[in-house]
Subunit: 239 residues, 2 copies
């Protein structure tokens, strides 16, 4: 799984300490040797699966073993465990955004939004690391923030269409929709082992809350589109 091109594992500030460090994209070739490309993909697949099963606490050693490569090779491709996490998390976000972009021209706006949310929750429900990453330091990474913003924009488009069609209450934003994905997932999480599809129930319940018929005034304004960036700034200045 997760065999598409995921992330690059490079940060601008990181300078190679050995001749031609592949983590530096720079203006250099940035061309991967065939075996290196193969290992990289195996690593990303193994990391994706392992993080999904064990959460972000999964050790690099286990991931490397699963990918059939040495531990050192992992750090050749990603300077830090965090960089690896970021690459995979961004990939997840991007894929969901891609789906949303496709759905944004679908004939039935309400069905499109529902489909978008269903896939989004399903993705999270089968991935223990997703919620952890959404709440932890990972969120502050610039690449993650960029992907989050894009996802929010796509969600906003979908939401606006459904709203204009009268399928969704007027006071709900795309940001709300994105954040509610994690909500449905979290509700079902405590009993995920015995009822792996329970998230469908809570997604449906939440979706009912989005309908105009249910609308009661909301006691708090929606988060702004760039709230995640503000969040990072707050986290940086604080603790």
């Amino acid at each position: 799984m997760a065999s598409t091109a995921a992330g690059d594992g490079s940060r601008p500030g990181v300078e190679g300490r050995r001749p031609h460090d592949p983590r530096v994209v720079g203006d250099a070739p940035a061309r991967l040797r065939a075996d290196a490309a193969h290992n990289r993909r195996a690593l990303l697949d193994a990391a994706s699966a392992t993080f999904a099963e064990e959460g972000m606490d999964a050790s690099i050693a286990r991931i490397a073993a699963r990918a059939g490569i040495g531990k050192g090779t992992v750090f050749r491709h990603f300077a830090t465990k965090q960089h690896l996490v970021v690459a995979i998390f961004c990939d997840r976000l991007d894929r969901l955004a891609d789906l949303g972009a496709e759905l944004s021209t679908a004939p039935d706006p309400a069905a499109a939004l529902s489909e978008f949310m269903t896939v989004g929750v399903e993705q999270q429900a089968s991935d223990r690391s997703f919620c952890q990453a959404a709440t932890g330091d990972t969120r502050n990474d610039p690449a993650v923030r960029a992907a989050s913003v894009r996802l929010a924009e796509v969600a906003e488009t979908l939401t606006a269409r459904a709203r204009d069609a009268g399928s969704i209450r007027a006071d709900v934003t795309g940001q709300d929709v994105v954040l509610l994905l994690g909500a449905a997932c979290q509700a079902a999480a405590p009993v995920a082992a015995t009822a792996p599809e329970l998230w469908r129930r809570y997604l449906a319940l939440i979706f009912d809350g989005l309908r105009p018929q249910a609308a009661h005034p909301l006691p708090h304004p929606a988060p702004t589109r760039t709230q995640l960036a503000d969040e990072a700034a707050a986290a940086g200045s604080a603790g």
Copy 2:
């Protein structure tokens, strides 16, 4: 904070390996010396606050320092870090259940349910460890399971009253309500630093989904009252 009598930190199977280990309640005195009782309370308060701020990854050393006691003292009261976590988590659950029990005789059932959920989410929103504990191994502990069952029963009472009053759709159970507390909390978590009260918005949205006006058929049956126990069994057999 959290100064009420919280947990006992003892497991039946644990046998003391030193003369009169206080972690064993047994049929023995189980009477704490004055200074020991004081330290224990300081420990529980410090652990509660630290876990809330830093999550369950907070180290025992930090907690001990905050409580002004030695690390060894922590393990004198709680055989394991997990036991300490369980004690605190059970305390949280019990307190919420207590509130629910009080509210179960309030005149307005819908307002009572709303109040119950508001306090429940508020409690979690200010406690980083709560969601982690609700999803991790902690949930399998027998004491936690007992507290969870009690909480579910109280929630069921509140829900039934609101349902009978026609304030809540018929296909929603107390278990649903409990699980949805975590949902509202999780939705707001990613932007908790910049919008600490945002959970109110999502709780209101979810509550709107509980109203009869919004009711659409739910695609998955509600979890049973003892689902958490089954969950533990499944986790035990699997792994």
